[in-house]
Every structure is written in structure tokens, then in C-alpha cells.
Symmetry: D2
Subunit: 399 residues, 4 copies
């Protein structure tokens, strides 16, 4: 069956040409992102377990982790967590299938604890975090069973949609890479750098203001001087990353809530503000491409934790993003492309109601461009089940 | 101090001129919206209590309610809720001030229970819902105390932003009014109509597809025929509302997940799917204007439950929406306007970093238009504290 | 089959002849007793529901309610509950039988809320108490189904025992009646009297010291004078009850933890100390006869909340108490009697391993006495299922 | 001040002379005992922390742990835990003192997790158990601060009592040693032996029936034959221990709920029935001497988790037991002794209202015996604070 793919001109001015641009990224250690990560790791654990047991993925959605902040008393050289962070895993899963029980709650508990332990260097799972589980019984109809191998696209679970775009603007790239660099690079080299990082970029014309918050880890900060020196390093690092990705004039505002005179600093025990007052939940932070971009088309879907085989809000957001990247990469003339995929409940997910491809090319959309874009999207939809596989393998990030 | 207000041309094609438009509204009884409502009612109760006791609003944010779905066994003529819905109120509040305890948890409990009882006609608070509370101690610095009367704008709690636009497109208006009509009008006349309503509008050119889900209340539905007849009424009602608000060709798809042959219908005990498998949380549904509009600029901020006096993500989203409505209403030439307000942490909230006003006028932006728009926005910012008052009085909806 | 009933002389000196006697009763509003009451009311609700649906009682045990104290700020004339009391209903129940779901959790929630509301005049269920439920799925084998009508005794669920004795000593009677009087009589006449009452009696020879704690309800106490006057009334009342039931010299010590100089008084909002720091759980208070009597044989079984048809720890404790009362009442010569019933797991509960009847008669145990005692116990065991009926009807108290 | 110590003849026939005797012990892995252990380990952690920080023990009581059973699917060779066991730590503690925060909740979490891990060889803390904390703020008045060194006895927190006796009867010794042997000896040699052991002894005249339940660990049991062989070993072991401690004719009934024909065996994953339906809470199992002895004087006090410096229900139960052991050991003529200690709220705990010493000596109580018994009890009360030290060091078991 032919797919309803429509290639049109962008509805908006390309991002680089707009005067004001706002972009945000909440880092891995931000309470909302932690919840996304927990939800997604629980989903992966369950999917894999279903595959191992039954050769197919059964119905589940674990997209509602709730984090209740703890209380801490950070001090230079090391203070303490007073009340543990509380994380409640919420969702639905198939707990019994073909007469066999699946230990969904135990698996979820383990996956969540592992995820938190792996993501935060300075958290002590014996004292700092309580993980609790409320996963309801979901039912798996025979028609819901998804077998990876048979290559047939499952039916959409809802009438919903996904959106994506490409490429990142310079501002977006800058914001994204700053957090990634701090987490993957700077933090590995400097144990005083925490995982709770928040980057907000505001570009006005050629000026980019970067408001950055980075938690420090008190055990590795001896005193105010140590803190100041640490933040100098972070600032320098941020300027360095920015320089690589943007030609704008950059101003960095780091930990603006600090009041160094009063000794009010962003000091934590665990590297995350979840320890002292910041609650979190799934789907309130980064979109599937890792950013919050109010000037772009965005879905409000919380992709993290949703099942990877027929949940449209998850699959189409990931796929739209991937297809946009492919279009932008493979068609030289395309400066910017946005893709919207709209499902029809009950129809195979490789047959969206509409795949709307909006793009901008300097010299207009030629029939070649149109044909190429259509082909890329068509192939991508044909191969939609590979998204499922990649999600389960953990090759796709949803935050 | 002069405010940084910038009036420019829209970055996007006006919505009515775009070929594809997607709009969604989750009704009052949707699990996510229930959480928004609980969070906001708890916030109002606390704000009012602080005012009554101290003449000022103290620090709090109760924006993280988590709903864990129950389990039910709906039957024609009335079945039963088997496992209650569980709602956890999460947040921070000032529990002690000037030596006086504030019963924040008890107030929150009461406000949440009242809200659920008022919002859902068919819920029995003695059997169907458990409301639990985990509100942490937040601290109120003297500088954080907000006195309504003194007219001075408080300082922003964060570097964040709000966005708004006006007017609603026909599609948006249609989607919005359908849910409002079903809840406020149809439901009052027909007790079989539940509160969990979801409306998704997809306009392609001049064709508007409305995918509508409406829960029925089993006690008032005798059998399949009763259900079919009820849904016929709902469908007729939806067509009626649509006709008032759009000139598109309208197709309504009602409860598409039903399988009438197999007796799989959207039957509930309480009027909400929260009773049987749909979890919910704050900030995952409607934006402050009541809609989810991926084609518009959107903030991901969960406005509901945030404190009403210095939480930028709440105040600026509401204000941007209001100002956009004022500009669209008062300046005849303006077809569409989008407003972005960006705060500076620590600066008074009536002095945003930038207020970006993007608008479209058939014949271009004249200096008169520019001046008028600036004035409206300037006045609105000057009067920002009135937003706080209106939030506390419950005159502003955040969902 | 003949029953193994053994009548022997008491192993202990009759209580009235001992020099030291300690007796305690925790009143209805004491946190532990509240939990007993919640557990028992949940059990009754479930039993009745099973009977109504299936004509038989299915497997369940709801004997583990846990109460976590709230926090309050009592003030003369009325203060407030700051943090609600949290009650977690814990247990096992049959949630599905013969293809039908039983709304065990919703029923439990309702029964518990009703019980608390009925037991405490001054509690506001909208603000002062959170009731939560964690009832696990228990399985009902066919052999476990208990039909009231068929008259056949079910098999014991365990090798366990029950103990009882009669009559109450004067001290026991006094302690018991003081609490009963304060709750049923004085409290009805004086709204300032709370439900949390604790009575400890210590008799040394002919001197009975009564240490009594009685919560006052702040709304109905205007000031210190009001409190003093209230406590004078309570004290007078206690002396009055004591006079009726004992010939000892009585000394009453009322609210000994008060420090009137420092204004430290036993003032509460709700009538129970559960509002401000006293946690509670099932089975830590009164035995099935309503008392704690370290000098008597006691079972540690938490009778409250256990299923009423084959749970030995419940049924045998109640039955042993009843049979002892019958023996003491019907056989004139018997001054005191203690009964122990020991079950054999898997054997019918009307066939205990042994029914040990130890009694004291002024002139020794004649064969007539022995025969009469045996007959009473034999008849009681024959009719054991009537205990089940009485439990379900609420005619038997377990605390 | 002279102490009110009264030495009298026993009120009961010495236990060895009674015809029927019932004794029970719930092993370390029984859900109730697990809760006792958690409560006590949390208490020790807090006491030690207070000592380390302030040189004195501050007010706390953590005596209300609640265990909600999990769900498991045990299979020969290893099955799985499906739903984790949930343990809620409940209590009060001083969270702030002299301006310093004490991380009570984090400490409690750690202590509880360590205790469970140490007590159960086969539990996986990452998947099998959720530990949660609800510890309320308790206040420490200056008068409540207990300094170990100053040697002064603190005041009693309540009018309450403790009871103890010595020596163990042969039946008691047998029951006690069977569980101790299985846990400390047999389990170390045979990994298939679980920690959830329950021993009930019923002596009628010279016949001792031992009803023993011992969980097996499925990973180390290959099949029914393996199970049968394991239970043969356990049975032999039990007979062996019994032989050492009693001259009665012994009959052992092992795992009487098993139905080997139907394959219904006492198979577990973790070694405890808490994994599959048996809830637990503090104070429902063994008394401070490690036994449940309905024929003895017993206190219902839940000693575990209570603060070790002024909680009478804890200290007097432990002390009464110790003093009884001393009297029985040091005064050759004494066959049996029972001790009751009754406090006076607000009075120093080394000055009980009465210390009642009831004992039996073959040839009556001589003045020498009386004098010696008084001296032992007097010295013990003088040295009451050493009980506190021993509790904190973990040298005293309360279960």
C-alpha cells in the first residue's frame, strides 16, 4: 500500500534566520531526566525479559516514575544526605502470560537501582535512595504480542503523532554539547563536577547567552576557594565547547543562584539537586532529541518508558527525528526539515495517516528533492520495526 | 526602567494558512488533567492559607502529583472499582514560619480530595480513591515573602520563559469547545457521559478529522443499545459544536478503540480511565491555554501547582497567553500574535530580559501597530502581580 | 469422635489470692487499638462480601494494619492537625473467585474509613487521616471455602492455640469498666473527653493504683482551668467506677505525664495521640478479652483481622474465653478457670489436639464438676462454627 | 533510697511440674522476627550515631517496622521473586539537635538493608526487597538527653513493667536450641536450609510434640527427592538437639502443611515466607528471652526498636530476664524464679515502684535465700544503665 507522504515548504522561517531562539537541556542528573532514565531502563529490562521468555515483547508502559526529593546537608569536604530520595516506579506490565509469571516488579526495581547507580557517581544506594514500585497488571491480548522477527509492523495503539526536525541549529548544538561534554568528559576528569547540569541558551541575533547550572560534589570541594576554582574551570570548559559550535558572541552565566558572599553555593552530596528539594517526573524535560526547543514543533509525549513496539507517541517521535536527520544529511540542498507522523489507531504503524515533510532549500523544492525525501521517509517507515529493536538494545536515547 | 520589548513579524506562516494542523485537548477527567487540577487546587489552598495567616504568600511548589491507576470491573447498570486510584501529592512548602506551624499536608489532602470529588460526578471518595501526601519542607527566606499589596514585583526564581499566542485557530477553538461543551453542558444533561474526554483534531487543508474519546458511566448505561444510543448523542453533539466553530469538512471518529462486536466498549464506573489502567501526572497534558499544539511555540513547563508569585514558568506562560489575547483583540489589524517572555533570575519579574512580540498583520507591521503592541505588553508587565492574585482566586486556568 | 478434654486443678494461685496483680487496657482511641479495630472491620467487610457473593467465606487475613502518627498543634479552643495520620491496611485476600473479581481493596478502604470515623468523634477524615491499602492476592483453594450453613467444622490452618480464663478479677473488672465507661458514657456527656484512654491497674495486696491517661479534645477545652476542671471530672468518674467493682483502697493517677506549670497537658485535636507521635499496629494491645494481663496465660496472637472461619489463633482465643466464662458462670463451685485449646493443622477445628481445662474450686474438683466442665467445653467445640458467625456479625470483640 | 524489692513464693506451680506446656519460637527469618531485627538494628544505628555526635543518646523509638509480603514463584533449582517484599520503617527520632541535623532516615535505611542482607543468605537486595522509611520528628527535651557516662539513671518514660523468669524449662530450652541450631549450625553446612523456622513445642506430661516448619531454598533443592532428603536431614537434626535437652519422649512433625503427593512443599527463593504471603510486624513474635511462653508471665511490650535508655517496656523486660537468670544461677536452692519490675513515670528507672521476686525452692524460702535474691536484684537495679550500654553494643537480643 502506498504511503501518504507529503513534501512541502517549511511553515516557519529556518531557525538560523530567526532573531530569537531559546533552547534548553536538562542533564542526566536533573531530577526529571533521572526519571526519564529510570523509566526507559525499566522498559528495556522488561522488553528484554519478555523477549527472552516468549520470543516477543508483551504489553507494558512504565512511563510514570515519580521522584520525591530528599534532604541533605552538604558541607565542604563532605556532608550527608539526611532523608533519602524517594523514587516510585509507576506503570503497567503483563505479569502473567501463557501461564507463566513474569517478575516485572523485581526486574523494574533492579533496573531502576542500576540506572541510578550508574548515572550518579556519588550516590550511595544503601542510604541515599529508596526505590519503590507500583506496577499494575496490564493485559496482553494475543493481538498485542509483538514478534521482532516476523517483520510485520504492529498496529498503532492510539491516534497520535510524532515530530522531528534536523539539523540542530548552532545554538541547539551548543547547548546539547555543553551538557554532554560536562557529563562525559569534564566529570570524568574532575570528581567535583556533579551530574545535575542544566543549560539554557538564548540567542538574540548574534549574541548567545548561556545560563548554566552545574552541581558540585561537596566531598571533592574543600572550601569556597575550591568552589570558585571549580566553577572557573567549568566556565572555561563551557566557553570552549561553545566556541566549537557557534560563531555567536557568547556570554556564560554560571550558577546564577549562588550568593558567594552569603556562602550560598550549589553544593551537593550526590551531584543532583534531587537530594535537596527538587522533585522530578517523566516527560517533563528533554524531548526525544535531547532538547527542549519551544520555537520548534514539539510533541508533549513522554517517550521514556513507553513500550517500544506499538506506542506511537514513542516510536513516531524517535522515527520522525531520525528521518529528519537522514533527509538533512542525504539531501545536500536541504537546509532544514521538519517531519510529522500521524498514526491511525488500529492501522499498521508503517502506514501513518500522513507523513508530513516540511523542508527548506535555498532554491526551492525541486521534484528531485521531493522524490528523494519521499524515498527516505518511505524506506524509514518500511523499516519501522528496526526502531523497536534499537530501543530495546538501548541504541536510542529518549532524553 | 524601560522594558526590553521587541515587536517583529511572525517567524511562521499564520496557522490558518498552514496545510496541516494538529491540536489536542485532554479533558478534566483525563488522568493527566486530574493531576494538574489537584496540583493547582493544592497550590491555591496553600497560597490562601499563607495569606490568611501571614498576609503574604510563602514559598511552595506543589506541581508533582502522581496518579497511579486503579482497577475496575465496569458493567452495564453499574459495576465496581476493585482497586482504588492512588494519588500522591508531591511538592515543597513552608511548614513553619515565624514560629507558627502551617498544616500544609492536611490542607493539601483536603484540597485534593475536594477537587477530585467536585470534578468527577461518579467517584466515591470512600472507596475509589486514596490520596496520599509527601510534601517536603521548603524554606522561606525573608526575601521570598511575597506581599500582594505592596505592588512590587518579586524577583524571578529562575532564568526561564513563557510563551503564548492568539487568537485560537478555528481548529483549536473547535477542539477546545468540544471538550468544554461535553463537560459543562452535555454531561450535566446526561449522567451517562463521563469526564474523561480526549479530543484530537487534525486539519489537512479544509478537512478536519476529530478523534474523540469519551468515557461512559456504566451505572447509567443499561446495555449495548444504550451505549450505542449514548454515543450517537455524543457524536451529534460534537458535530454540532464543530459546526459553530469551523467551516472545514468535519469527520468525527468517536471511541475508535471500541469493538462493539466483541463488547469492548469505553465503559467506566467513575467516568475516568484512571480507574482502569491509565496513570497520570502533572504537566503532561494541556498547556496553560488549555490545548496541546505541536505546531505552535510551546513551553514544557508544568504550570499547575507552581507558586503564583515568583515562579516564572507559571506566571510568564499565563501572562504571555493573556497579553497575546489582548494584542489580538485590541489591535484590529493583527491576525495572529505570539509572545515570548524570558526572565532573568534574580531580577524583578516585571523586567524580563526580553519580551518578544511576533505578529502578523495583513498589510505589515506599521509603527502604530508596533506602538500599540508595545504599550499593551508594557502595561501587562507593569501589572504582573495581578496575575498572582487571579491565580490564587482561581480565575486563571492552567490546564 | 471423642474430644480430648482434660480437666485439672489450676497451675497457679487464683488471681485474687496473689499479692501483686498488673492489668492494662488500651482504649478504643489508642493507636494500637485503632489498628485492631481497622483490621477487624476490614475482615468483617470482606467476610460479609464473600458471603453475599458466593454464600461462603473465602480465604483472607487482614491483620496487619500499620498506623504512622501524624503531627498536630493542639491549642485551647481548637488547634489543628498539621500532618495527617497515615494508616496502611496490610493483608491477604481472595481477589478473584470463580471468574468474579472481588473489590477487596475498595471494601477495605471503605470499612477502615468508616471505622475510624465512627470511633473518633473529632477526627475529620478529609484532613486528618490518610488510609492506604496493600492487600496481596491470596488464593482460595476449594478446600478452603467455608460455608456457614453446612455446619461442618473447617480444618485448622495451623498448629496453634488459644487461651482464656474467667471470671475477671476485681482489678481486671475495674480496669476494663473504667475505659468502657469513659468511652461509652462520660465521652457522650462531655465532648472534651477524647477516645485515647489507657488504664493500668496495679494491685498490691488490698491497694489498687490506677494509672489513667485520658486525652482531652482541645476544641472543647478553653484554658488551663478548663483542663483542670475536666480532669477533676474524669478523676471523680474513675473513682466512681472503681468503687463499684473493687473493695481495694484505690489511688488514681491521672495523666501523670502532664506538667501543668509548664503548660504541658494531654491536649489533642482528634482525641487520640496518634495525631502527634504515637504509632500503632495490630496485635500489640488488648487480648481478645479486652485486657492485657501479664499474670495470666496469654496468647500473643493478633486476633484482629484474622479470618473468622479457620484461623486458630483467632477462633480458639475467642472460644477459650467464652468457654471459660460459661464454665465459671454455670458451675457454681468454680472460682476460677483457665482454658487452653491446641489445634492440629489439617484437623477439623472442633477436634483440638487437647482442650485443657484448669480450674479451682474451694473444695476440690469433684467428678460432677469435671463432668459439667467437660460437657460445656464439648458442647462449645461442637458448636465452634457459631463463633465464626458471631465474629462476622460483629458480636464478638477481639480487643 | 531503699528499693522496694519483695521476695515471695511463686504464684504458680513450677513449669516442670505442670502437665501441659506450650512453647514457641519464631526464627530469625520469620517475617515478625525480621521486623524485630530491623527495628532493633535501626535503634542501634541511631543510638550509636547520637553518641558519636553528641556524647549522649537522644530521644527515639523505631519499634514499628511493617513488612508486606512479596510474591514469588519458587521452583526446584531456582525460581524467582516476582514482587519484592516491602518493609516500612516507622518510628520517631530526633532529627535536629543543637542546630545539627542527624541523618536519621538515611541511617535507618542503611541499617535495615544491612540487617536483612546479613540475616538472609539468599535474598538479593537489588530485586527482592524494598525498604521505605517514615520516621517522624521526635523532640528531645534537654531533660531527655541521656549521657552514658554520668552513671545517673534516667527517669522512666511511662508507668509500665517488665517480666522475666529463669531458668528455661527443658521444653523451652529444646525449642530455643532447635531454632538456634538450625540457623547457626545446620544452615551454615547446608545451603538448602532457609532462615524461616518456626518451632512449637507442646509437652503433655512426658511427651513432647515438636511441630517444626523449616523453609527450604529452592536454588539448592533439585527435585522432590532432594526435598525429601533435605527434610530427613532436618528431622534428624531436630531429634538430635531435642535429645540433648529433654528426657521426654519426642515426636517431631516437620512441615506439616506440605502435601508431597500434590507437590505442595515449603520451597522458597529467599529462605523466608515473607516472599510469598506472610506479612510481619514488630512485637508479634518472641519476647525478649527469645520465646513465646503462654504459660509464663509475659509482657506484650514490643521491646525491639525502643530506645535503650528510658523506655521501661524495653529495659525492664531485659533486666527482669537477666536478674531472674542471675538469681537462678547464683542461688543453688532456687528451682524457678519470676521477676516483675514496675516503673513509676518520671521516677528514676533504678527505683521501680516495686520489684517483685517470686521464687520456688524445694525447702521453702529461707531468709538467706531472701537476702541473696534481694541483693542480686538491688545490684542489678543499681547498675541499670549497663543494660543501655549492652543494648547499644548489640550484646542483648530482644527477640
Amino acid at each position: 500500500m502506498e504511503r501518504n507522504i507529503r513534501v512541502r515548504e517549511l511553515d516557519s522561517r529556518p531557525m538560523e534566520q530567526r532573531e530569537i531562539e531559546l533552547v534548553e537541556r536538562k542533564g542526566i542528573g536533573h531530577p526529571d531526566t533521572l526519571c526519564d532514565g529510570v523509566a526507559e531502563s525499566v522498559m528495556r529490562a522488561l522488553s528484554q525479559e519478555y523477549l527472552d521468555r516468549f520470543g516477543s515483547v508483551l504489553h507494558h508502559n512504565t512511563d510514570e516514575a515519580q521522584l520525591v526529593a530528599g534532604r541533605s546537608n552538604p558541607e565542604f569536604g563532605g556532608g550527608e544526605v539526611i532523608e533519602p530520595i524517594y523514587i516510585l516506579i509507576v506503570g503497567r506490565a503483563t505479569k502473567e502470560f501463557q501461564g507463566e509469571y513474569v517478575p516485572t516488579d523485581s526486574l523494574a526495581l533492579k533496573a531502576a537501582r542500576e540506572y541510578i547507580r550508574d548515572s550518579l557517581h556519588n550516590v550511595d544506594m544503601e542510604t541515599d535512595v529508596v526505590v519503590d514500585v507500583k506496577i499494575g497488571e496490564g493485559s496482553t491480548d494475543l493481538k498485542d504480542v509483538f514478534e521482532l522477527d516476523d517483520g510485520e509492523a504492529p498496529n498503532a495503539n492510539d491516534t497520535s503523532f510524532g515530530v522531528g526536525y534536523a539539523p540542530f541549529s548552532d545554538t541547539e548544538r551548543t547547548v546539547y554539547e555543553i551538557e554532554r561534554g560536562i557529563y562525559d568528559d569534564l566529570r570524568e576528569r574532575n570528581p567535583a563536577v556533579g551530574e545535575d547540569v542544566k543549560v539554557m541558551g538564548k540567542r538574540e541575533g548574534d549574541t548567545l547567552d548561556l545560563t548554566v547550572a552545574v552541581a558540585s560534589v561537596s566531598e571533592h570541594v574543600d572550601d569556597v576557594d575550591g568552589y570558585v576554582s571549580l566553577m572557573d574551570d567549568v566556565e572555561e570548559y563551557v566557553y570552549g565547547v561553545a566556541e566549537e559550535h557557534t560563531d555567536c558572541d557568547v556570554d556564560v552565566y554560571l550558577n546564577t543562584a549562588d550568593d558567594r558572599e552569603e556562602g550560598s553555593l550549589y553544593l551537593t552530596e550526590t551531584g543532583t539537586s534531587a537530594e535537596m528539594g527538587d522533585d522530578g517526573s517523566v516527560g517533563r524535560g528533554n524531548r526525544a532529541n535531547g532538547l527542549i526547543t519551544p520555537g520548534r514543533e514539539m510533541s508533549l509525549e513522554a517517550a521514556s518508558g513507553k513500550n517500544p513496539f506499538n506506542h506511537i507517541g514513542k516510536i513516531y517521535n524517535i522515527l520522525a527525528h531520525d528521518l529528519a536527520e537522514d533527509v538533512a544529511a542525504e539531501i545536500e540542498e536541504v537546509d532544514e526539515v521538519g517531519i510529522k507522523l500521524l498514526s491511525q489507531i488500529g492501522s499498521p504503524i508503517d502506514q501513518p495517516q500522513v507523513a508530513a515533510v516540511n523542508l527548506h532549500a535555498e532554491d526551492g523544492i525541486t521534484s528531485d528533492i521531493e522524490y528523494e525525501a519521499e524515498s527516505i521517509v518511505d524506506d524509514g517507515l518500511e523499516d519501522v520495526t528496526s526502531v523497536t529493536e534499537r530501543i530495546i538494545r538501548g541504541d536510542v536515547s529518549t532524553f
